[in-house]
Symmetry: C2
Subunit: 260 residues, 2 copies
DNA sequence: TGGTAATATTTGACAAGTCAAACTTTCGCG
DNA sequence: CGCGAAAGTTTGACTTGTCAAATATTACCA
C-alpha cells in the first residue's frame, strides 16, 4: 500500500532480491540474509514491507519473486549501482571490490542529475580524443608515482597523431555501421537516430541519442534481439528498431584499476 | 567516553557546529537546529553525545565550542565535504547548490582511498595539459548539447600549441617561484620539497609532495603565516617552513558549472 | 509415514534518531 | 528588580532497523 520512497535499507533488500532472482529463478530468505549479512528475521520484516509496496510476490514460508513494478525499481537501483561502480573503476582507477562497496553506499544518496553527470563523464572521458585509455592510465600513474610532467609535449603530440589516424579511418570505413554487425563486448557511439516515428521517439527517450556510447552485450543466435547497454540502461532491441540507429565503432574499454 | 565512529547524523551535527563556530565565536543550539532543519530537542540529544565523546565543550544551557579533538574531527568532515563538492562543481559541472547537497549525503559514506582519488583526479584534470578548463568546458557542452566531434583535430592542435607555449614560458620564468610571492587565489603545483629534516617530513606528510596542487588562501599582512589549501587540507605555514618548497604557477581554476 | 534438519516466522528487546509538549533557565528591557 | 519572551531541556511517543530466542513450517530421506 504505502508508496513513499524506499529507505536505503529497503533498497538494499530489493537490490539483493533483484540480483538473486537474476541468477536463480527466485530468492529464498536465507539467500538474502547471507548476501546482506543480516539476520533472517530482519529479512522477513523487509519482505513484508516490500510486499506491502507491491514490489515483490511474497507469502509467508514461500519463495520470493519480483512484480513488474519491483523489477523496474530493482533495475533502477542496480543501474545506479553500476554507474557509480563503473565510474570508480574506469575513471578513478579504484579496484573493483572497493568500487563495488562504495557504490553500494552511494547508490542511495546520489540524485538523478548528478548520476547523469557521472554517466556522461565516463562517456566523455572514453570518447574524447584528449581523454581515452592512455590518459586514464596517466592518471593511475599520477596516483601511484606522482606527476611526471616532462613529456607532456610528447603525450599531446601522440594524441594528435591518434586523432588524425582515427579521422582518416573514419572517412573510409567507420561511418554508419549497422548495429547488428557488431560483436558482443564491442562499444560504439551513436552518430544519428533517424526517423520521427514513435519507435525512434522511444529510442531517444531511452537515452540513445547522438553521442551516447553503447555497448553490445549479447546478440541472440538468430541475430534478432540485441541486448545493449546505454547510459546505464540494459535494453533489448529488435532488429527493426535498430535500423534507424547509426553508430561508429570505438576502441575497447579503458584500462584496469589500481589496487588501493 | 564512547569512542566508536560517529554516525552520519552526529557527523552532521559536528559539521554544523564546526561551520557555525568558524563564523561566530560559539554555536547556540538554535543555530544548529536551524542549520540542520531539526527540532531543538534533537540538538540537545546530539550535544550530549558529542560531549560524551569529548568533541565539544558543552554544559546545559551553555553555549557550544569545540575541543581540540572536535576541531580536528570537524575539519576532517568539512574536508570530505569540500573535496566532493569541488569535484562535482569543477569536474562534473554540477551547479553549486546541488553539489553541496549531494556532498552532504556522500561525505559520510565515501571511504578514504576513494576520497583520495577524487582529490587526485581534480588535480589531474586541472593540471594535465590534455585536461584543463577548456576540456571541462567541452564536457559541459557535451552534457547540454550533445557531442560535437568534428573539430577534435583542431581541439587537440590548440592543446598542443598551449603545451608548447607553457613549456617555453616555463623555461624562462616559472621555475622555483617562492611561495610567499604568490597572491591569494593563485594556484601552484609543487615541483620539489627540499630537505630531510622533521619539518619537511611533516610537510610531506600533510600532502605537500611533488605534483600536489596548492592554492594560496591568505597571506598575513607581514607575509608570514600563509594559509594554503592542499589536497583538501587547509594549512597555515610559517615562512621558514616554505623555504624548501618549490612550486610553479598554474592558470586560474576551471570554469563554472552548468545549471541542471 | 515419520522424524530430523534446514529454513522461516514471530515475538520481544534494543539502539538511534526524530518530534511535540510541558517545563526550566536565561536574558533583556521597562 | 521583575516579568515576559526566547532559548534550552526533559520526557514520552513513535519510527526504522537490527538481533536473539522461541516457535512454526517445510523438505527430504529412510
Amino acid at each position: 500500500m504505502a508508496d513513499i520512497a524506499l529507505s536505503a535499507s529497503l533498497e538494499d533488500y530489493l537490490e539483493a532480491i533483484y540480483t538473486i532472482v537474476s541468477e536463480k529463478q527466485a530468492a529464498r530468505a536465507k539467500d538474502i540474509a547471507d548476501k546482506l549479512k543480516v539476520h533472517r528475521s530482519s529479512v522477513t520484516n523487509a519482505l513484508h514491507e516490500l510486499s506491502d509496496r507491491l514490489l515483490i510476490n511474497y507469502a509467508p514460508y514461500d519463495i520470493v519473486t519480483l512484480t513488474d513494478k519491483g523489477r523496474a525499481v530493482g533495475a533502477d537501483i542496480v543501474r545506479r549501482h553500476e554507474i557509480l561502480s563503473e565510474f570508480f573503476v574506469k575513471v578513478l582507477a579504484v579496484d573493483e571490490a572497493l568500487a563495488d562497496r562504495t557504490a553500494c553506499e552511494m547508490e542511495h544518496v546520489v540524485p538523478r542529475p548528478v548520476l547523469d553527470r557521472f554517466i556522461r563523464f565516463v562517456e566523455y572521458v572514453e570518447t574524447c580524443p584528449r581523454g581515452g585509455a592512455k590518459w586514464i592510465k596517466g592518471f593511475a600513474h599520477y596516483c601511484t608515482e606522482g606527476a611526471s610532467l616532462d613529456d607532456c609535449e610528447h603525450c599531446v603530440e601522440a594524441c594528435l597523431v591518434d586523432v588524425r589516424k582515427r579521422k582518416n579511418q573514419g572517412e573510409t570505413n567507420s561511418m554508419a555501421v549497422a548495429l547488428t554487425t557488431l560483436n558482443p563486448g564491442q562499444r560504439a557511439r551513436v552518430t544519428k537516430v533517424k526517423g520521427r516515428g514513435p519507435v525512434s521517439q522511444r529510442i531517444r527517450a531511452m537515452g540513445i541519442t547522438p553521442g551516447a556510447v553503447m555497448e553490445i552485450e549479447r546478440v541472440a543466435p538468430l541475430g534478432d534481439p540485441v541486448d545493449i547497454k546505454v547510459r546505464g540502461y540494459h535494453l533489448s532491441l529488435r532488429r527493426e528498431d535498430l535500423d534507424g540507429i547509426e553508430v561508429e565503432c570505438l576502441a575497447g574499454p579503458v584500462g584496469k584499476p589500481v589496487e588501493l
